[in-house]
Symmetry: C2
Subunit: 370 residues, 2 copies
């Protein structure tokens, strides 16, 4: 029994501790070695577990003398309370889970960063789960963790979930009393706190920006409609055109389904139409548009202007760098975490109404527009 031998390593030292001779300076060297529990300290010091616990928490019930003795001993063995036991007792884990479709998307990475910051400031840990855009993985993750492992969820829906419109797993979790905050890819069918950007407005502004520059034939590279943000951004684009009495031309609108091999579709869009500007709903589409334009002998921004969405690594370091709608992921994640934690620490479900926070976007002008 390794845990026992531990107590005989520094017999001399311990006896001195017991006799209230505290040698703090000598103690730090012996910090190492296995986990020690209240029970073990209690046994060794010939007091009860309660006494040890109270001593360490500086309870007034305990005499100055034993308190110091216990604390010195605990320090010697580097006692730290077991978090799992505390979680069980308190019915709180101080851990929140964020479920995102993919981590390699820069935007989601920044959101995690924002969540982590705020969570840590408030003493929470962050569990990251990747749904991989899969409905099943989303469900499994949630069911797995909803059984005491965490205190609440922050999530952005997977594509498949948005397509199926099946949200039973989320409803169940909420019904069990566990708070959920959705961000970015949300749905109206679930009642919970949400934090989003005004995709519609942002797209409208971006398109308007192009129109103001004098462009008439503005292409749109979007996603299929079941991706909520794709749909909203498409609507914003259309609204801007209508507002300026420009014709909506179906062949200028490209809706990409597959995230692989979309280069050809974009090349076709650019080749077969007299487009003088493009609004792309993400930075991948934007940078690909630049590449394909170059291949067709069209220079950016001289021959064609391009605006992207999401201010990530690509937009910043592409040549030319890309004018884009900046969507502050860090702020978004931070806000989501704040909302979740506030709800967790509210006096037992005030059942106060759910809120939807809108993070403002900003158009970052770079080299891809003129």
């Amino acid at each position: 029994m390794k845990t026992f031998s531990l107590f005989h390593y520094f017999k001399v030292k311990i006896d001195r501790i017991k006799n209230n001779v505290y040698l703090y300076s000598e103690i730090s060297i012996y910090l190492m070695k296995r986990k020690v529990t209240l029970k073990q300290i209690a046994r060794e010091l010939d007091v009860s577990i309660s006494t040890v616990s109270k001593s360490l928490r500086n309870s007034l019930e305990i005499s100055e003398d034993t308190r110091q003795k216990v604390q010195a001993f605990a320090k010697l063995y580097n006692y730290k309370p077991n978090n799992i036991a505390l979680s069980l007792k308190n019915k709180k884990t101080k851990t929140i889970c964020i479920i995102i479709p993919e981590i390699i998307h820069h935007f989601f990475a920044t959101v995690i960063s924002g969540v982590e910051n705020v969570a840590n400031e408030n003493g929470y840990n962050v569990l990251v789960c990747l749904s991989d855009e899969s409905f099943d993985k989303e469900v499994i993750n949630m069911e797995m963790l909803a059984n005491g492992s965490i205190d609440g969820f922050i999530m952005s829906l997977s594509k498949e979930t948005q397509q199926k419109k099946d949200f039973h797993h989320i409803v169940e979790v909420i019904n069990q009393g566990m708070p959920v905050v959705m961000f970015d890819r949300v749905t109206n069918e679930i009642l919970c706190d949400k934090v989003i950007i005004d995709d519609n407005l942002a797209a409208f502004n971006a398109t308007q920006y192009l129109i103001d520059k004098g462009f008439k034939k503005i292409g749109l590279i979007s996603t299929v409609d079941y991706v909520s943000v794709g749909k909203l951004r498409t609507e914003g684009y259309i609204k801007a055109l209508k507002n300026n009495d420009l014709k909506i031309e179906e062949n200028l609108i490209l809706k990409i389904e597959d995230t692989e091999n979309f280069e050809e579709s974009i090349a076709n869009l650019l080749a077969n139409n007299e487009i003088d500007a493009v609004f792309a709903v993400n930075e991948l589409f934007a940078v690909t548009a630049i590449k394909e334009a170059n291949k067709l002998g069209k220079k950016v921004p001289e021959d064609i202007s391009i605006i992207g969405f999401t201010d990530g690594i690509i937009s910043k370091y592409s040549s030319p760098s890309i004018t884009t709608v900046s969507q502050n992921g860090v702020k978004m994640g931070g806000k989501a975490a704040k909302m979740l934690i506030e709800r967790l620490e509210a006096e037992e479900e005030d059942e106060e109404q759910y809120k939807t926070e809108v993070i403002e976007t900003e158009l970052v002008e770079r080299e891809s527009t003129k």
Copy 2:
């Protein structure tokens, strides 16, 4: 007491269950509502907790009859065992923690992705902690989680930790019997499992590649030496030059300390020297070199060739796309997770010797070299 009223909602149904009339088809509708425990089921069914537990685990000690009754009831109330309680009992949390300096670096994001995959396959969850390149945050995170919250660590050292060379927090954790796997930014001062790439060799190969193309004046953009990978890559570069009897010119070697505002340094390097090729130790430096070269009127790859390190988003989508040393983060994370889990599930610390796995790199040829 909300938890009680629950038991009176569907009184009729329950009575039928008790009388062994199992109506599975009707059950699914009532899945919702709060967490139910073994104790509650036991009380309601007038059996002991042990019986309920055994029934649900299909113990042979329990009669077919009560087993079915209990299982039907548990299903009705969507019983799921409490993970925290299980963790406490089993002294295993089935959670591993990955500590990385920053999540917005594409490479680290891919590592997380690899860790997540392997972890999930083996029934583990992944807790992500960001050290933010800070020693203190690294220490706090580790101390916080080493108290039962997780089963093991996967980590890459923060810059500050590498600079201070203070690894006491890691030693302590290991001494407590918690396995640690280090990746990418590792140190020889710690004995544990590691997974790295052969930075030296990879840099050597990349430099050799440039030399083979006929370049003589090859610049190096590296980091300061306390960043282990920066140092190793620098050594590889120097070795390649020496091997080919090329002069090592100090003014062709740029060591960047600050990750902000390094553009000027790079511009100076390119402006003040007759450089015909550059090897950069990460993709940020590589893409910046391209930008600065362009500003100086030098075209890539016509006037100057550039090789980067880490095959990330930037290298792929930059124009021109960047020839780079591909460092497979997913594979690296997967390997690290595999090593950690194997150690966790080994028959109680065989104390088998620690291993260091080397992930092979690959030179991905793109447009930035000719």
